[in-house]
């Protein structure tokens, strides 16, 4: 069943000279893990803003086409109705934080849902622990480090346990091990609870292995879409500035030089290492 259905979307910000989304259609099935990538400025964040109606209801501008998310017609709905369906982690965590304490920021969305105190306490603690910021809960979200701020933004969205989680470069401020842990948590929510995940990322090294649906955008359009493994073998994709994972790149270099390690293109260093071990064993 499709949980997101966008057709022929064209969107121009107020005062902008050209559309930021320029004839885009996308279908996301319930339970998918979608990875969106593409050059800086190609419209990834703008697309994310349509999933919960920030575009057009907050940003205004000119829009045509259709956006259906969780059976709601976004264009005729106001954003606050969407909060229980779609959780969006902003690209810039600072824009998402406003409460007096980390804990209050994480609880804010739940309060709005009218959740009872006890249940709320449990959810908030669960999310604080997942993001590893339980010890910061009484601090102001504006008086912590960049990475700590990003964890608060992630925890606030996870706490809501929405049907669809949209994460716009959610780990850009995180140290590498924490980034990996957060991706694992999100992958687990996707696998175990069937939560639909939409992740925007430049670093396919870290994320390609989780996704079953890769979307490559350029200039407001989708230019490639499909299974990550098939797409990342495609030569053309590297021409639009997509960062192919190092393991995939090394595999291709070896193949070109006449060392064909394996039939299947590896997406991660683990996969390539296993293939190399087999190929080079004496």
């Amino acid at each position: 069943m499709a949980i997101i259905n966008i057709s022929n979307l064209v969107y121009t910000y107020p005062g902008a000279s050209k559309p930021s989304i320029d004839g885009l259609s996308l279908t996301v099935e319930k339970g998918e893990f979608v990875l969106i990538t593409g050059p800086s400025g190609c419209g990834k964040t703008s697309l994310c803003r349509t999933f919960n109606g920030l575009i057009p209801h907050f940003y205004h501008g000119e829009l045509s086409g259709q956006i259906i998310v969780a059976e709601q017609d976004i264009i005729s709905k106001q954003t606050f109705d969407m909060a229980k369906h779609v959780g969006l982690v902003f690209q810039n965590p600072e824009n998402q934080l406003f409460a007096l304490s980390v804990e209050k920021d994480v609880a804010f969305g739940l309060e709005n849902l009218g959740m009872n105190r006890e249940e709320m306490r449990k959810r908030v603690d669960w999310a604080l622990n997942l993001a590893d910021i339980y010890n910061l809960r009484e601090r102001s979200p504006h008086e912590v480090s960049g990475g700590q701020q990003q964890r608060v933004a992630i925890a606030a969205v996870l706490a809501m346990q929405p049907e669809i989680i949209v994460l716009d470069e959610p780990t850009s401020f995180l140290d590498p091990l924490s980034a990996e842990r957060i991706f694992e948590v999100i992958y687990k929510l996707n696998q175990e609870q069937g939560i639909t995940v939409i992740l925007v990322e430049h670093r396919l090294d870290l994320t390609a292995k989780y996704a079953n649906h890769l979307v490559v955008m350029d200039k407001g359009k989708i230019c490639f879409e499909g299974n990550p493994r098939n797409l990342l073998c495609n030569e053309e994709i590297s021409h639009i500035g997509v960062g192919i994972p190092k393991a995939t790149l090394l595999y291709k270099k070896l193949k070109t030089a006449g060392f064909n390690v394996n039939q299947q293109t590896p997406l991660s260093s683990d996969e390539l290492a296993d293939q190399l071990l087999k190929a080079l064993k004496t």
Partner: protein
């Protein structure tokens, strides 16, 4: 030259972000500072241009103690790019933002125009010349922040997470530019979580943890030391991960460069083919 001697810094009585840090940065050094969230990296580098003054200990920039001079004076030597561009950008147009420091330092009109045009072009921002920086995408905003500092060509550059929000192509351009600056004997200090970028740049690497420096060495040594990296919440670069797993084959494990990796693996394959025949 920047000399940091036993610096402590507390935001509040119960938050001590730096717990006795000493470091000498020589002119022409190229350093990446890495380490887990909250380790104190941003706090530390804000001492290099006097944005923060030590609670105790001293910081000297070119022989002048930072507590004895103004940020404005220090700013002429040290260009600083913030972690979050929103804390840096304030002008009405991208062009004004990039020209701001140049005007402040009283460059002539022609030089300002040349530098602004160069920076807009280099960072793929020319089409946004007259646009407000606040109406740009996340990656574009970071590039405006970088452009506004690189345009005036400071002797020392301090970059907090320069690759945030950048796609592969922009990162590669930035890498080449930083390498050029290094070749011209400029001082470059970057804080970054981007291990792949560090592996490609090959700078001196300093690891921070819990307000202290815990390691200082060449990239190839630090980035292939799993114990040290784990303590700093860093993962091995992809190439190093591969060679760590290949240890049963008796290949070297301290590899971070893809070209070096390719050479070694092709040689190993040739040797195996030879044995088979």
């Amino acid at each position: 030259m920047i000399t940091i001697d036993n610096v402590h810094y507390s935001y509040a009585s119960n938050i001590e972000a730096l717990k006795g840090v000493s470091l000498t940065i020589n002119d022409g050094d190229f350093i990446a500072i890495m380490g887990q969230n909250g380790a104190g990296k941003t706090t530390f580098i804000k001492h290099f241009n006097g944005l923060l003054k030590p609670t105790s200990g001293t910081v000297h920039v070119n022989g002048i103690e930072t507590t004895k001079t103004s940020v404005a004076t220090l700013a002429k030597n040290v260009g600083f790019v913030f972690q979050n561009p929103d804390n840096q950008l304030f002008s009405e147009t991208v062009e004004d933002e990039i020209a701001f420091a140049l005007k402040n330092f009283k460059y002539d009109k022609k030089t300002i125009e040349e530098q602004v045009t160069w920076a807009l072009d280099f960072f793929s921002l020319t089409q946004y010349r007259k646009t407000s920086p606040f109406l740009l995408s996340g990656g574009e905003r970071k590039r405006v922040a970088l452009a506004s500092v690189l345009a005036w060509n400071p002797d020392a550059l301090v970059l907090d997470e320069p690759t945030i929000g950048q796609d592969h192509e922009q990162k590669e351009k930035l890498r080449q530019f930083i390498i050029q600056l290094h070749a011209k004997k400029k001082t470059v200090i970057m804080v970054t979580h981007d291990v792949e970028f560090v592996a490609e740049c090959n700078p001196r690497v300093i690891l921070m943890r819990d307000g202290k420096i815990i390691a200082d060495g060449i990239a190839k040594n630090i980035l292939t030391n799993p114990t040290l990296l784990e303590e700093s919440s860093i993962v091995l670069p992809q190439i190093a991960q591969i060679f760590t797993k290949l240890y049963p084959l008796g290949l070297p494990t301290d590899i971070i460069d893809i070209t070096e990796a390719e050479t070694i693996l092709l040689a190993a394959n040739a040797k195996k083919q030879e044995q088979l025949t």
